[in-house]
């Protein structure tokens, strides 16, 4: 058994063990911490499966941002609701499995066991080479001015998918911001400072480095691993860092500039599509001479849009000061 194979065996086993431990942990805090560890192990798995772009995005988003969001939500629901009688359901440490009776659980387990068997069997007996788009895509990449295959697929061959995906991101961000705006009890100005001196010093040193890495990934993305998604993920992580250290909080306020940034990713694709339509070809079917500059322009806008959207999503979910008086809540909800 080669060292690589041994590593893969341990990692595959570790993913299942850590994943199951996170799902069925005795307390929610344990569950979230194990979930973050699971995200980091996933990033390793992506590297082993020759997907470095995904590994970069996963490390920043899967482990970092999602973990931070879960921890914040846990902090919100774990505290006793102010002025209300704590109910049994607000106990964060309740037994992991309780929603369905035992019989239903057994049936569910049996059904899902069959699903696992079918999925595993299908994956193991998949024909090689499999009928798919790999050959077509790689042939197109070979003659494309952009040489990173993932970037070509994302921004040219399957640009429609990415366009609509940016729309999904925009809608999720708007939903989060709208719900957050309605939940505000007190003006932001009197929010307690979250930062500590350590965090402040760390953020002031790390954030410039993160911006540098994001810029590099964006530029490298046309030729090798990188591109708008990993770069945007790291930009978003830098924004989260600033939030945590409480630096420049007012800049993240709901301003016109930030709203434009939220929609700019979708707008960039729309603009490129309309330009290609005006040039006489299909929507998002760029003219050959314009392919490289168009993709580069979309990548730059996309990086900024994804980064700012992710940071805003975190900012909207970051811990709020809670009003101590429930009647005040009611008043503020209906001014």
């Amino acid at each position: 058994m080669t060292p690589g194979l041994l590593f893969d065996a341990l990692l595959a086993l570790g993913l299942v063990v850590v994943g199951a431990s996170a799902l069925f942990a005795t307390t929610l805090f344990k569950a979230v911490v194990l979930f973050i560890a699971f995200g980091l192990m996933m990033a390793l798995a992506w590297v082993r499966l020759d997907a470095p772009d995904i590994a970069l995005a996963e490390a920043a988003i899967g482990a970092g941002l999602t973990g931070a969001l879960m921890l914040d939500a846990l902090g919100h629901v774990a505290g006793e609701p102010a002025g209300r009688r704590a109910t049994a359901a607000s106990d964060p440490d309740d037994a992991p499995v309780r929603a369905v009776p035992r019989i239903a659980r057994l049936a569910l387990g049996a059904g899902l066991g069959a699903v696992v068997g079918a999925v595993g069997w299908a994956a193991l007996t998949f024909p090689v080479p499999y009928p798919g788009l790999a050959a077509i895509a790689l042939d197109a990449v070979a003659v494309h001015p952009v040489s990173n295959a993932a970037t070509v697929v994302l921004l040219d061959l399957r640009a429609w998918d990415t366009f609509l995906e940016m729309l999904v991101l925009l809608l999720a961000a708007l939903g989060t911001l709208v719900l957050k705006a309605r939940a505000i009890h007190e003006p932001r100005a009197i929010a307690p400072a979250l930062g500590s001196e350590m965090l402040d010093a760390l953020a002031r040193r790390l954030v410039p480095l993160m911006l540098l890495v994001a810029g590099y990934l964006l530029w490298a993305g046309t030729a090798r691993s990188g591109g708008a998604f990993p770069a945007g993920a790291i930009l978003g992580a830098a924004g989260v860092m600033l939030f945590l250290a409480d630096i420049g909080r007012d800049r993240f306020a709901d301003t016109r500039g930030l709203r434009i940034a939220l929609g700019s990713g979708t707008a960039a694709f729309l603009g490129a599509g309309l330009l290609s339509l005006a040039g006489g070809s299909a929507f998002l079917d760029y003219a050959p001479a314009w392919t490289y500059p168009t993709i580069l322009a979309i990548e730059i806008v996309l990086t900024l849009s994804i980064g700012i959207t992710l940071a805003l999503i975190y900012g909207a979910s970051a811990r709020e000061p809670r009003s101590p008086d429930p009647e005040l809540d009611a008043e503020e909800a209906h001014p």
Partner: protein
Amino acid sequence: MSGAEMSIAMYSVAAAALIGLASFAAFAMRHLLRRILALNMLGSAVFLLLVAVARRAEGPAPDPVPHAMVLTGIVVAVSATAFALILARRLYDATGACSLDAEADGR
């Protein structure tokens, strides 16, 4: 079976197992944060399966199409998770409970 094929097979089996475990948790758990975490992990398991299958493509490089799907999928997953979490928090603010189980909330 070559070493690379064995590695891919192991990741595929791990992905299948995680799909089952995470689906079970998403259905059987009561606390909403646990269910959201389980759904997120279910997404990760599907991504792992997609990329493991993409690695089976013959040729010098893995199939870039599933890679691109997973890359966008990760960003969609985190934004959907953020939306779900803020919905759960609003539910908690409104009812003091963090589950969809009406009886357990005492109302």
